[in-house]
Symmetry: C2
Subunit: 172 residues, 2 copies
C-alpha cells in the first residue's frame, strides 16, 4: 500500500498530528499497510495486536497501557496488563507504534513504512502528539557521540510545548 510512500522532506516533516486530515482514511490506510507488511514479513498481526493498533490509530494521541487495556476488555479480550503490554511490545518492535517516554504512553506511527528515527511534539495542555522526523545523530549530539566513542543505536527525541490550538486559546 505504501507504494505511495512519500519521501520525507522538511515540509513534509510537518507532523500529521496537529492538522486536519481525513481521519477515516488515515486509519484504514495504516491498518492495511500494517497488514500487508506483516504478510510480507511473516509477522502475525493477531486480533489483539490489530485491535490495539486500530485503537491507537483512531485516537491521534498517546494512550497509556491501561487505557488501552480498558478498551481491550470492553472489546472482549483479556484484561490483565500483560495482554496489553505484549501487544504493544510487538507493535513497537516492528515499528507500528512508538512509545512516548515522557508520558509512559504509546502512539501509532504516522509514517508507516518509512525507515525513521522519530521525534515527537507533545502538547502539555491537551496531550496531542505529532510525529516528525529527526536526525539527532547528524547534529551536535552525533559529534559528541563520535568524540566520546559512543555508538548510538536508538534515540528518543521528544519536544514538550504548546500545540497550535492551545497556543491560540491560551496565548499566555
Amino acid at each position: 500500500m505504501t507504494s505511495n510512500t512519500r519521501p520525507i522532506s522538511v515540509d513534509d516533516a510537518a507532523p500529521i498530528g496537529f492538522q486536519k486530515h481525513d481521519h477515516e482514511n488515515c486509519v484504514e490506510t495504516a491498518l492495511a499497510a500494517a497488514e500487508s507488511r506483516c504478510k510480507e514479513e511473516g509477522l502475525r498481526l493477531t486480533p489483539v495486536r490489530r485491535k490495539v493498533l486500530e485503537m491507537l490509530l483512531q485516537e491521534h494521541r498517546a494512550l497509556g497501557a491501561y487505557a488501552i487495556l480498558d478498551r481491550l476488555r470492553d472489546a472482549g479480550f483479556g484484561s490483565q496488563p500483560p495482554v496489553a503490554y505484549r501487544a504493544l511490545d510487538f507493535l513497537v518492535q516492528n515499528g507500528f507504534v512508538h512509545k512516548i517516554e515522557r508520558l509512559n504512553a504509546f502512539v501509532a506511527c504516522s509514517h508507516p513504512g518509512a525507515a525513521h528515527s522519530p521525534a515527537f511534539m507533545i502538547c502539555r495542555k491537551c496531550d496531542a502528539v505529532a510525529e516528525a522526523q529527526s536526525a539527532p545523530a547528524k547534529g551536535v549530539l552525533g559529534a559528541a557521540a563520535r568524540a566520546a566513542g559512543f555508538e548510538i543505536e536508538r534515540t528518543v527525541v521528544e519536544a514538550e510545548g504548546l500545540c497550535p490550538d492551545c497556543t491560540e486559546k491560551a496565548p499566555k
Copy 2:
C-alpha cells in the same frame, strides 16, 4: 568499574560521563556551585536536597528514586517516597539534576550553571550516562515545529547505545 584510563583528548563536545576525571574534585566543585547559586537566588538547598545532589554527583550514573530513597534512609532522613521525590523535584526544577525519561531515573547535571537543553547518551549495557549539549530546535525538528506552529518549551533527547568501554568488551 573500569580502571581503563582513556586519553582525555577532549574536544569540547565530548561528554564528561565516559571519561576518567578527578571525581572528588568534580563532586565538590558541583556542590559548591550549587550552594552558591542557591544563595544568590534565594533557593533553599536543605539537607535532604543537598544529600540527594551529593549522591547523584558521587555516582556518575542514573539512580532510580527508590535507590536514592534507600540511601536517604541510611543517612537518617525520612524514608517514604515523597521525601525523595520532593527533593528530586526541587533539583530538577532548578537544573541541578536531570531526569532520564528512558530509565525513569535521575542524574546530576554535568554542566552546572550553563543554560542548556541537555542530551544524554545511555549505555544499554552498563547504564553509564553522559550528558552532552543538544540543539534540537535548530535542526529538522525545529523546522517541523515552526511549520506546524508548535511552540517548543523543553526537549528530551536521549541516545541509547554502547559506551566506549562496553563497545570494546563486547564488540558484538
